[in-house]
């Protein structure tokens, strides 16, 4: 059964290639939560710099959870999603994720711009561990949902950002994952497509056990989610059941 269990998870980034004399510019860096965006900046005595992107968070996600991650820019939403997907390993704490994951983080990452839309569908399918025959089965559905028609044969670099979003959203939702992670899926796309995205998101709950969406569109997120998490400076401020 798919589940995500996080216990006191923290993520502390090293900052490489930044100003060596940073300590002189922000002598007060150790003052906790003085910044309005981002996590805490730590400067060690030897000059090494770190950012606490995720600060001691704990939660349980289970079958049927539609989790909305809400917070300002730099609150740690995207970083937390990446931890759940396995891109980042927590620097401390325990994380246990059970289930097949698909994700959609950034329109510019995780896509082959030189390859056609069609090739990208196969490519993503291979990444998720499917064979060609299985990918063939979901192919038509992806092309149909994304409404890309003949453009599916052209290189992705010829697409507009809205078209890339359509393709990536269709791919992320079509491989029947147990867990789906979406970062800011709502913002791109025209009105008609937004409606389609909303419908698909409601449908996803039947096949996908856990869906986690990060966004700063509070109202839309609250309409959809049944678990609402508010984040600030890398910490979870509040977990609500809706």
């Amino acid at each position: 059964m798919p589940s995500i269990v996080a216990k006191n998870v923290s993520l502390i980034f090293p900052i490489l290639g930044s100003d060596k004399k940073l300590a002189n510019k922000i002598p007060d860096a150790s003052n906790y939560k003085r910044n309005r965006v981002g996590g805490n900046i730590n400067i060690m005595e030897n000059g090494k710099q770190f950012v606490t992107a995720i600060d001691d968070v704990s939660f349980n996600f289970n079958d049927g959870d539609r989790v909305g991650l809400y917070g300002h820019n730099g609150a740690g939403k995207s970083t937390l999603l990446r931890i759940l997907s396995g891109v980042y390993n927590p620097t401390s704490g325990e994380l246990n994720v059970q289930g097949k994951i698909t994700s959609m983080f950034n329109l510019n990452l995780g896509i082959n711009r030189e390859a056609s839309g069609l090739e990208n569908i196969y490519f993503k399918g291979l990444i998720y561990g499917f064979k060609k025959e299985k990918i063939d089965l979901v192919l038509q559905g992806i092309i149909e949902f994304s409404e890309l028609d003949d453009y599916i044969y052209l290189p992705v670099k010829t697409y507009s950002s809205g078209m890339i979003m359509r393709l990536m959203f269709a791919i992320a939702t079509s491989f029947e994952p147990d867990i789906m992670l979406l970062d800011e899926w709502i913002t791109a796309g025209d009105l008609a497509f937004r409606k389609k995205v909303d419908d698909r998101m409601s449908q996803m709950v039947e096949t996908t056990k856990i869906v986690v969406v990060a966004s700063h569109e509070k109202d839309r997120l609250r309409d959809w989610a049944n678990k609402f998490i508010t984040m600030k400076s890398g910490c979870i401020v509040n977990i609500e059941k809706l």
């Binding site: 502390i12 090293p14 090494k48 990452l109 995780g110 990444i127």
Partner: protein, 270 residues
């Protein structure tokens, strides 16, 4: 606020798993390597045929010039140079490209959780394909030289296998080091240009007398010898095989060790 960065996790099982999970995704690796080559030769009319053309013309130019500097017979020296150049080029491309495997895949590493070995396998398959294409003119020369016995084919298979295993550890190891320390990749490519002249590819050690003897301390000499000697002389170079086996073992260990220590930190360094 606790900062636990002084302590590194040590996870040998995760590292070993990474290597095998990457192999399990061989379809993805092949597809990716193929795609890389298609991009490289995009809109070119001759396409990957350029590999054969470029390699053959290099070879002809080198044989024309360097055959004057050796006392060996022309046909022998031509095959000697062709084989040496072929293998050294392959090793060089693996080592130089190996430095970049993670840096070049930044977007993928930050968006999909995949075994890190996939980036190594992808790069090795790409360069191995180029190697196979470059074999074509060398193969013709070997047929003309007419000294191909069963034993040389058998040892050729084993030697290629060991080349690929070494390619895996060297690219993972250099990939990690060069992602953290960006000077390393420049150092490595400079080092490899120097090694090209210090490795017996363009020259035969016996021609150089005592200076030529230094070649046995160069590991690349032995990696070339395990393929070149059986084809040229029909003999298996046991000393070279010994050196290659030791380097393979030590290299695999060092590379697994660095993957065990730093696997989870690579993403922070790109």
């Amino acid at each position: 606020m606790k900062i636990l960065l002084g302590t590194f996790d040590f996870r040998p099982r995760t590292a070993l798993n990474d290597l095998f999970l990457g192999l399990k995704k061989w379809r993805l690796c092949i597809n990716w390597a193929k795609h890389d080559l298609i991009i490289r030769y995009k809109r070119s009319w001759i396409g990957i045929g350029w590999v054969i053309l470029a390699f053959s013309s290099f070879l002809i130019a080198k044989i024309l010039i360097f055959s004057f500097l050796t006392e060996e017979p022309l046909v022998y020296f031509s095959v000697y140079l062709a084989l040496g150049f072929l293998i050294f080029r392959f090793i060089q491309s693996i080592i130089v490209d190996g430095c970049n495997i993670f840096v070049m895949a930044e977007g993928w590493i930050k968006s999909e959780s995949m075994p890190f070995s996939i980036y190594a396998y992808r790069m090795i398959l790409r360069n191995f394909t180029v190697f196979i294409y470059s074999c074509f003119p060398v193969f013709l020369m070997c047929i003309y030289y007419n000294n191909l016995e069963i034993i040389s084919f058998l040892s050729l298979g084993a030697a290629l296998f060991f080349l690929l295993v070494n390619a895996t550890w060297v690219s993972l190891f250099l990939g990690i080091i060069c992602t953290r320390y960006r000077d390393a990749m420049h150092l490595v490519s400079t080092f490899m240009s120097i090694m090209y002249f210090l490795t017996p590819v363009l020259w035969v050690p016996s021609d150089l007398g005592k200076i030529g003897d230094i070649a046995i301390y160069n590991p690349f000499t032995h990696f070339i010898a395990i393929i070149r000697e059986p084809i040229l002389t029909g003999q298996i170079p046991f000393v070279s095989w010994g050196v290659v086996l030791i380097i393979t073992l030590v290299g695999l260990l060092v590379s697994l060790l660095s993957l065990s220590l730093f696997r989870s930190r690579i993403v922070f360094w790109i």
